[in-house]
Symmetry: C2
Subunit: 186 residues, 2 copies
């Protein structure tokens, strides 16, 4: 089940991810594969043996961010006030700092079926579910708020950031709506 990979193969893979990380974070999606390969000191062929396509690389490069987010979520989003709100603001912060992360998130919504590539991602998902549950139990969000809603808004947030709009304003406009719907009484 686990033919240990060759030493240099592993090393190269790491180099590629590392190079991709920096380039994507800095310039977002518009970086060419040959450029990444060069920066990593390998040939394009090598990049493609490790990652089926460009998108897979984008996601792999962002993977560490998901772990980072999860870490933050676990330690800061289960207090007195709304964990979701903190979560959104933190993600907004990261997204606006790392243009590669937005690319990765946006990709998780391209064509159908391609759902969850990456492990850190899946584990983050369950934490988000816990936050939603926690906030709901504490009456910090409208009772019909679901995990799907969170993803919906994270996706929107990502697009807002990608286009260089005022994302803080977006959150200021949007987050209050998640709180108990005082004005939506109907």
């Amino acid at each position: 089940m686990s033919t240990k990979p060759r030493a240099d193969a592993e090393r190269n893979r790491a180099r590629v991810v590392e190079a991709a990380r920096e380039l994507f974070a800095e310039r977002g999606d518009d970086v060419q594969m040959p450029e990444i390969a060069r920066a990593a000191g390998v040939g394009v062929g090598t990049v493609y043996r490790h990652f089926p396509d460009r998108q897979a690389l984008v996601e792999a490069a962002a993977e560490h961010r998901f772990a980072e987010i999860e870490e933050y979520a676990r330690t800061h989003c289960f207090g007195e006030d709304s964990g979701l709100e903190r979560y959104f603001r933190y993600v907004g912060e990261l997204l606006s700092r790392d243009r590669g992360l937005t690319a990765a998130i946006d990709s998780a919504r391209g064509r159908p079926g391609s759902e969850p590539r990456g492990t850190a991602r899946g584990s983050l998902e369950s934490v988000v579910a816990e936050i939603v549950a926690h906030d709901r139990a504490a009456g910090l969000v409208r009772p019909d708020c679901t995990v799907a809603d969170v993803y919906l808004l994270i996706g929107a947030l990502s697009s807002v950031i990608r286009t260089g709009s005022d994302w803080a304003r977006f959150l200021d406009l949007t987050l209050p709506a998640l709180r108990d719907q005082l004005s939506t009484e109907h």
Copy 2:
């Protein structure tokens, strides 16, 4: 200032826009230029003489929608209840029906400086400003709501729709926040 264009040139331009309209509306962004040219019964070169690049064509093809939206806005968004809310729902409806329109809107936010191509677009902008003013005067939206906020949300809406998410839900979550911020008091 106006060397009247040759008759056939104008006819061809119209054919191209027409073909593009149908193809984009149906399949969104993934339609090739040669295909559009063929559908219009002209050569690619002709397409490019009329439109500097693919993007310009996408926008030209969506132009009529902007006129449509403006028409709707003028006649339905100045009543008793929130014009903005009606506006958002109408645009959501159109966007979800015409995949080319989302592409056009998203393009209006790509790289900097490329702001307003297209005339119908500019004229629509002023109507939106009027709606905001009208709603504000009637106390139907939070007093600090600006036109920029509307574009921010329309952009987000477009991205939500493009990714096939539940846009009605997005509006249900978001629009209440535009109303007077009862819960944002502090």
